[in-house]
Amino acid sequence: MNPLRRASRIPLLLLAVGLAAALARIPAAQEPRFLVAPAVTPDERPMRQPLHRVLDLPRPTTSAHASCLLPMPGGDLLVGWFGGTREGARDVTIEMARVREGVVVERWTSLTRQRLQQLVHRSIRKLGNPVLWMDTVGRVHMHVVSVSVGGWSGSAINHLVSPDQGRTWSLGRRLVVSPLFNLSTLVRNQPLMMQDGSIGLPAYHEFVNKWGLWLRLESEGRVIDSVRMQKYEGGRLQPAVAATSPTEATAALRSASRHARRVQRNATRDGGRSWPQRPALDVPNPDASVSLIRLDDGSLLMAANPLESGRHRLELLHSLDAGETWTRLRVIESSDATTDEFSYPFLAQDLSGDIHLSYTLLRQGIRLRTFNAAWLWGEETP
């Protein structure tokens, strides 16, 4: 054969090898199905006295915001938040505390900007919103927002893994989910576990436009799918998602629209493959983060600031119909001073059935409330 013709086949051969290598790497994603525990009936729940504890976490910094919770297998609660001289300052760190029976047994600075720079090998200007979850072998994972250039709309998400429950971190993955310099992807609320071991992570985009994102990650943190939550009007961000069946979930979103100041809603019926917009909830929203969980009895609990403006009132709301309608259950915080802030709630329920609610207190600290169903449905006022 002519050597020149043989040589011209090399690019094609190389292309064939490249295609084979690429095909081998494509993730074998299974049909997405949410991991949903069977609902506990009232008969199965042991009778308990009403429980309601209030704990102000230590304040190592002058400003604190965006707390998150992770109930641990032994009954302890891991609380994370970001703190510094002010939001967005270069001295902001990710702080953590371990709470046992209403007492802080340990507090430490879990992640600094400098440490994240070392892990991701790029400059980091500021840190933000941490979200924690635990895998099946007991490692704690954190998705944390960082900014290298500009404001929060220049954010990216970093996935870190800790073998020692948040004391030290190694890099899992830096999530790339935007084709434009990976600009503007953030997290705020907790992920959902899927039946195949993958993770569903609610995230959002806020550069120019604002919309919710549903990221599906392999157990080691690789992105295997990213779905935009449908948006027809206004900005909507910071989705909080609760699954109500293996294929159904509802998302409550903060409204950034001046014209639609109500908690926005998207829902899926196909395991998160699509998130059509649903009518906004009859709950006002002052452009503030909400938290949403499915309780062990199958109902949904939401924490929100149900106001047209300001964040000076924090309430718990309850839904028995998978998020279609909501009733107001409890006023958690309320102030006449409209500049007071009780914001960025985060809900979690532990294995014993106790419910934990953390939130930003006047931008100065993090307050943690722990209560049970007996208190939630009882007569006691907070």
Partner: protein
């Protein structure tokens, strides 16, 4: 250090070297191989700290990592390696192929009703995208664009080897600077054709 970080940091050194070579071309009108002194530039970018971290870390923070296709084009521009066949001229079909990627970026800026489908999403489990890329590459090769065949093959190999932070195949193939460069070349190519 991870493989992805090594690629990202070396790519910043390559960008610096390509910028240096571009300035030389602009000033002298010809492109020579980079001398030993020029090779100090990427070393400086990788090693010299400005503030808390080396320059390459700042550059990664600003514009992230280039696609593998862009990196290959920069290598071709700077080193003119023998393994890479000669680059074709301003083939408008190549430019158009790249410009079809424009819808990747438009939804980020335009206030348009969005379904759950988006072009970027094709890159997560990219069976369809791989077929499209293979067909486009073979069609381009019919125009004797062996260089593009090799570059696309290298990008696919890099995807298979998990060379970049991204898990999306699109990020191995295109990036905004490449798209802008192609749009500029396409525009100047059309202008030149019209003048003739």
């Amino acid at each position: 250090m991870t493989l992805q970080a090594i690629y990202g940091l070396l790519a910043q050194g390559l960008i610096a070297l390509a910028a240096w070579q571009a300035v030389r071309v602009w000033r002298t009108g010809r492109l020579d191989s980079p001398g030993p002194l020029a090779l100090l530039l990427p070393a400086a970018v990788l090693l010299v700290p400005v503030g808390e971290v080396p320059i390459a870390h700042h550059l990664r923070g600003v514009w992230g990592d280039p696609s593998v296709v862009t990196a290959c084009l920069l290598v071709a521009f700077v080193f003119r390696p023998r393994w890479l066949p000669p680059m074709p001229g301003r083939d408008l079909r190549i430019l158009l192929t790249l410009l079809v990627t424009l819808p990747l970026y438009l939804p980020l800026f335009l206030e348009i009703p969005m379904s759950t489908w988006d072009l970027y999403g094709l890159g997560w489990q990219p069976f369809t995208l791989l077929i499209g890329v293979a067909v486009a590459t073979i069609l381009l090769r019919a125009r004797r664009s062996d260089a593009w065949t090799v570059i696309v093959a290298v990008a696919l190999l890099a995807y298979g080897a998990d060379l970049m932070e991204s898990d999306n195949l699109w990020d191995y193939l295109v990036d905004p600077p490449l798209l802008l460069a192609m749009a500029f070349l396409g525009f100047t190519g059309i202008c030149t054709s019209l003048q003739r």
